[in-house]
């Protein structure tokens, strides 16, 4: 059958009716449409049962701008002809889709390709994949692994009917259907059902429409696939980086500036530090500094020197500890340096906080050591063993 039905065809078809000659049919068809025209002119509205309603709608004049010259000009008002199909005709034409219903969407179901204010990533990117592309003939039947089989049944029946007509257009149809499937790939499950159904059957009817839509959809599908692949790769990499960060933090605390010095010593020494606060007698302080030293894994040798140093340190220890800091915050403002107390050689594995603890009884006064030895300490995080430091005498401001 010809794709377009024109007036002549209509006349021929009408003439097939009993009791109607070709001449009659000709007159009838011509008058039919002329009458619509005239009636529209006369009344502005024509209703034809079984076809629909033709209405004249007036459009008012509006201003517009000439794109080339930029000057304003007026588009005059005019009358549009509007056509609204009859209910029976509407339903007849929508037959392939008659079983579809509007469905309420629950929250969390999102679609990409539809006109909507929400645009969120699709949920089922690649459900209908290459498998569909391969099987030409079985596409229509097989493409519904999901629910809502009822919807597909009438569609398939509808297709059977149309199938005969379309036999000639086989190839283009298959292309359209295949392409229709790829279009459906873009959309998540709920939509796929209706989309596939809708793509497959009207695809049989309307090849050209589909081609245009599908050209747009295929790049979209690729984009979305690419986006997904990127996510799938980026996320594990990110997780890996985080894990590495955590591990290095645990095993190589020197790499991290924040409170690492404190943390090493914290567990062992806080208890001892607190004891140092409470006891006021020199002996106990000596004993405590011994405790400190013993707790220190790396420096048994210093036990000898510590008692000597601990006595003059008594007051500073008290003062420093009385300041009341919790022993984790570096302190560099509450005291001033009044001279050099002594010199000290850094032992292997020692950090500034340990040295500060040794001499001041608290870790958080290490900044003063740094201040007092600017030429020796380039990087407070890394003071190599053997460095000779001047330990400043500090008094509270």
């Amino acid at each position: 059958m010809d794709e377009r039905l024109n007036q002549q065809h209509l006349i021929d078809l009408l003439a097939e009716m009993d009791g109607v000659s070709k001449k009659d049919a000709d007159i009838f068809v011509r008058e039919f449409f002329h009458l619509i025209e005239d009636a529209l002119e006369k009344d502005g509205i024509v209703k034809v049962k079984g076809l629909g309603t033709f209405k004249l709608v007036s459009v008012e004049s509006r201003e517009s701008v000439n794109i080339n010259t930029g000057e304003r000009f007026t588009i005059d008002g005019y009358n549009k002809i509007s056509f609204t199909p009859d209910i029976s005709l509407r339903e007849l034409i929508n037959k392939p889709f008659e079983h579809f219903e509007a469905v309420e969407l629950n929250d969390g179901v999102e679609f990409n390709d539809i006109d909507t204010d929400d645009e969120l990533p699709q949920e089922h990117p690649l459900v209908l994949d290459e498998t569909e592309l391969n099987s030409d003939d079985n596409i229509i039947a097989d493409e519904e692994p999901l629910s809502e089989v009822e919807q597909t049944q009438p569609i398939i029946q509808g297709e059977d009917k149309a199938g005969e007509v379309v036999a000639e257009n086989h190839e283009t149809v298959i292309d359209a259907v295949v392409a229709a499937i790829t279009n459906a790939e873009v959309l998540p499950i709920e939509e796929e059902v209706s989309d596939n159904a809708d793509e497959s059957s009207p695809a049989l009817l309307k090849d050209e429409d589909q081609q245009v839509e599908l050209d747009k959809s295929i790049p979209v599908r690729h984009e979305q696939q690419n986006r997904l692949y990127k996510y799938l790769i980026l996320v594990p990499i990110f997780v890996l980086i985080v894990c590495i960060g955590i591990i290095s933090y645990l095993y190589f605390p020197e790499l991290f500036e924040l409170k690492s010095k404190d943390i090493l010593i914290e567990d062992k020494v806080i208890v001892v530090g607190k004891e140092a606060i409470e006891k006021a007698s020199p002996e106990s302080i000596i004993a405590d500094s011994n405790l400190v030293l013993i707790a220190d894994i790396d420096s048994p040798v210093i036990a000898v020197t510590a008692p000597v140093e601990s006595i003059p340190q008594k007051e500073p220890i008290k003062k420093t500890t009385e300041v009341g800091e919790d022993g984790t915050q570096p302190d560099s403002i509450n005291y001033k340096i009044v001279g050099t107390k002594t010199t000290y050689t850094v032992k292997p594995g020692e950090t500034l906080t340990r040295v500060a603890l040794r001499f001041y009884g608290t870790k958080n006064l290490w900044p003063y050591i740094v201040k007092h030895n600017p030429n020796k300490i380039k990087n407070p995080n890394n003071v190599p063993s053997g460095t000779v430091l001047k330990i400043p005498e500090i008094t509270k401001k």
Binding site: Q7, V103, K206
Partner: protein, 90 residues
Amino acid sequence: MNSKEFTIELSRRIERSTKETSEMTSYLLGKIAQHLQDDDIVAVQSFGTFEVKKKAERISVNPTTKKRMLIPPKLVLNFRPSSLLKDKFK
């Protein structure tokens, strides 16, 4: 002008009975509808073309209940008047 008036006027013009004209009308419209179902387009010279178009699925929100509805795709009939007709009414 409603359907009845249309039929009457048409029967007057072709000089046939209203019964006959209404029969012929429904026959003709049946043929048109059938052709639209199969082939999507019916073009009448100097009048216009009737076309079957597909409307895609869409999500719409009911403004009162705020519920989101998924409206299924559908086929609709479209009429595009010919230039002659359009000019006539300008």
